[in-house]
Amino acid sequence: MAKYQDELDPITGRMELVEGDHVTFHDVTEAVARPIEIPSSRWWIAFIPSVMLLGVYLISIAYLLYMGTGIWGLNNPVAWGWAIVNFVFWVGIGHAGTLISAVLFLFRQKWRTSINRAAEAMTIFAVICALQFPTFHTGRPWFIYWPLPLPNQMDMWPNFRSPLLWDVFAVSTYFTVSLLFWYVGLIPDLATMRDRAKTPIRRFAYGLFSLGWRGSTRHWLNYEKAYMILAGLSTPLVLSVHTIVSFDFAASQLPGWHTTIFPPYFVAGAIFSGFAMVLTLLLPVRAWFKLEHIITVKHLENMAKIILLTGTMVGYAYAMEFFIAWYSGNPYESFAFQNRLFGDYWWAYWIMVSCNVISPQFFWFKRIRRSVVWLFILSIFVNIGMWFERFVITVTSLHHDFLPSSWDYYSPTVWDVSTLVGSFGLFFTLFCLFVRYLPTVAIGEVKSVMAIANPHHHGDSHGEHH
């Protein structure tokens, strides 16, 4: 396998995380900061279509506010429809960002440093997209603050026994903590941008948000402790968020929803879909910004391995759901699963299985894990599959419940489609603005995992500077 030989770190014998001969700290700063300071015109190629999609979203929402949720395809048994499908889809995407920033940090996976910034940004933007759907699904989004325990003239309080209320607390905490974590990570890099700034506006903006950071070791001491604590807090938090999202389903009585496998199965699926989205976003970014030596093929390969692992876990969960449906001897549960495979929505089920169970299995092959084209194609398949997973769970269970008299077929309207497509516009617009104005890679963290960052490094760190 000499073909796939990666560069090795002379001290640890592990893969070099930043590739190239004699890469200095300054080279890393330049590689990340230059595309922000001297923007490429190609950025507009991504930004303009994103803003157009955002326009589609704004029109859809404006019409929704004018007409009400009747413009969506919701009907009596299927009252949740695409809004909840999209909500779970977007929240799930966010989870990979937290996994990379927090869980891999606790496991001392140093390779995370080149991808964590972009992945955390993706988390925040995905949660913003997710929050749109329940907000507008309420029908009167100007009352969205009602789930909060605020004193009111009716002297009533929210029902703290409801999983939907837990969800409000879980997702809003998740958003706040992700934002704080991301911002804390950004502070030293914003200071880098401030110190390189050539224009007064940049110096002011980056200076304002870098809070006067001056790289003091006395500060780093508290900073690193805060970072580790945030990672330690985010790890159970991210597990709790998708667990509670799955409680929205699992705590109900509906066949196909009322299962104990939902929390771990939802968390695995969330990480699976999130890593696919990280690949979808980072493959173009690393090519356009010429960051291939920082976000290396080895990084991509590691992500592919996580997709393979979590995809296999998701496949296992699908199989186990069927086993339990049969083994429980519950006729309603068995019917719900037969209906998934061969019922009205058989096509959605089989799209889900092909995308989520079969497509990640290609990642057993090293050649495919290291091929940018294959990774991109398969990541798209996983994104599609995971959206269909939420569709299958939501719609197939709702449309045929206990009473045949209340059965109905659900189909989306053009406004359902435009809101989902438009939400990608919101997501990509935010991501484009992020790569345009903020360091896409955590500059300081990448430097700290380079071999020359080790205070006991004896290499060529002297004698060649002037």
């Binding site: 903590v177 900073y223 807090l233 205070p455």
Partner: protein, 181 residues
Amino acid sequence: MSKPIKKKTYGLLAEYDSARAVYHACEQVRDAGYKVWDSHTPFAVHNLDKAMGLGPSVLPWIVFAMGMTGATLAMLLQYWTSAIDYPIIIAGKPYFSWQAFVPVTFELGVLFSAFGAVFGMLGLNRLPMWYHSLFNSERFLRHTDDKFFIAIEARDPKYDPQKTRELLERTGAAHIEEVED
């Protein structure tokens, strides 16, 4: 400070080229007995706090206190609203069905801890502080890029413009300058 000086001096700023150099320089400054000094690096150099002789951060205690406060408040809020202020039977459960209150308790505990971690860190570091004397040095701008610095402040009891400079020279500094306050 008996001699009258025109400009107030913040201290001496020494520049180093590598993490290794600044690490060993910090050990020497620490051993020389200085107290009011600091090092500035583009990233957190591993164990540099120990080379400077710094103790552990007190941040975990702040976070712990905040987390406990958040969790306690959350449980009390749910208890008071569900069992005292507006008792109502939902799904045949007791008024104080604490098992159902665990998720919100957990979430608010995490939320308060995160606020404690971030704002506690900023408070301990006295940030934001948009003006600092070190920014008067042109060379200091590279502390966020690829240079490593040690700054010994003039208000350190052991500070002496001549002797301190000699010490920094002995540590192998690439450049030494006096910074105005």
